[in-house]
């Protein structure tokens, strides 16, 4: 991190930035995650699911992404961001998968991730629920106490451990903006010593089972409760 940068530097935006457009892109991102998840079925090969997801993004004019499209099955859900999946993984009848996309619509970045489960494995089901629960617990504490990025992720690590998971700190939050946010700040939110402002950051939670080869992921923009209807 550049220590001479101030919060306003880390939270700068580009000329095309528009809160309205960012929220609309958030909606588009959540919608397509749901559509991809609904189309994934046991018996699919992961690579085919990724191709399918890209097709669905292309139909919505969002094939361009600020990062690659990830649909990860089973053991590949433990992989960290950017890591290549093991090839040929087939989704089982009792299995877990995650989606992580960063689609760009025109000039605005989206980012979203979620985890889904088939079958009746209680630990897989709990992983998907807990990734989301840790996200919201951390987000609510940020709202209540104005946690810094550092404190927010320190809390998330503790919360994950309390629930029996290991938090992957390779995925520890980042900026989102008009494309590309990377020219403003490309590092983790977990390094920030100030309270991140709403709608400018993404809170990401990737947990791994302590002994079994699967994980779960949830991410969304850092926003107040009104953006997360019950």
């Amino acid at each position: 991190m550049n220590v001479t940068m101030k919060q306003s530097d880390f939270e700068a935006v580009g000329e095309a930035f528009s809160l309205k457009q960012m929220f609309e892109q958030r909606d588009r991102t959540r919608e397509v995650i749901g559509a991809i998840a609904a189309a994934v079925k046991p018996g699919m090969v992961e690579e085919d699911a990724v191709d399918m997801a890209k097709g669905m993004l292309a139909e919505r004019k969002m094939l361009r992404g600020w990062h690659d499209v990830y649909v990860r099955f089973g053991t590949n859900t433990t992989k960290t961001f950017g890591e290549a999946s093991d090839p040929g993984i087939v989704l089982g009848d009792t299995d877990i998968f995650l989606i992580d996309i960063g689609p760009v619509f025109e000039k605005w970045e989206g980012d979203g991730g979620d985890t889904f489960v088939f079958g009746d494995d209680p630990e897989m089901a709990r992983a998907a629920v807990d990734a989301r629960a840790i996200f919201h617990a951390a987000r609510k504490l940020w709202l209540k106490d104005g946690l810094s990025g550092q404190a927010l992720y320190a809390f998330a690590v503790e919360e994950a451990e309390k629930l029996g998971w290991a938090l992957n700190m390779d995925l520890s939050g980042h900026r989102l903006s008009d494309f590309p946010h990377s020219v403003i700040y490309d590092g983790p939110m977990a390094d920030m010593t100030f309270t991140p402002s709403p709608a400018l950051w993404v809170l990401e939670i990737h947990i791994r089972h302590p002994t079994r080869p699967f994980g779960a992921f949830f991410e969304d923009m850092l926003l107040d409760d009104s953006y997360f209807p019950a």
């Binding site: 004019k61 590309p180 990377s182």
Partner: protein
């Protein structure tokens, strides 16, 4: 008006046995870059401090490293693959010479490849 010479490049690809040298040599028409056999065009341009952006890390996802290959040199390149082609098709103002620098792997046979960074 044509692209500034600062945005025009000619790639010289050394065999893999030669020592690494990513120096950029300005010439009248274009900046000549020495690259290594097997390097992507993106890596070669970045190593020579060319003003090219890569957001997705070479995954053919962001389109930020789109370059325009000189028409006469296009036939020397392996055609764009399915993923690269699909992304190029969805970017604004597509042109026939457009390629993603992250997907072009350089070989000595491509020495002399000419391109422009401006889309």
């Amino acid at each position: 008006m044509g692209a500034s010479s600062a945005l025009r490049f000619e790639i010289q690809v050394a065999p893999s046995s030669c020592p690494d040298d990513a120096s950029a040599i300005p010439t009248r028409g274009a900046t000549r870059i020495r690259a290594q056999d097997g390097q992507t065009l993106l890596r070669a341009l970045q190593a020579a401090n060319a003003p090219i952006l890569s957001v997705c890390g070479g995954q053919a996802s962001c389109g930020a490293c789109r370059v325009r290959i000189e028409t006469d040199d296009l036939a020397d390149l392996t055609p764009a693959g399915r993923v690269e082609g699909a992304l190029l098709d969805c970017l604004d103002d597509p042109l026939p010479g457009h390629r993603l620098a992250c997907q072009v792997v350089l070989t000595p046979a491509l020495s002399g490849l000419r391109l422009t960074l401006a889309p």
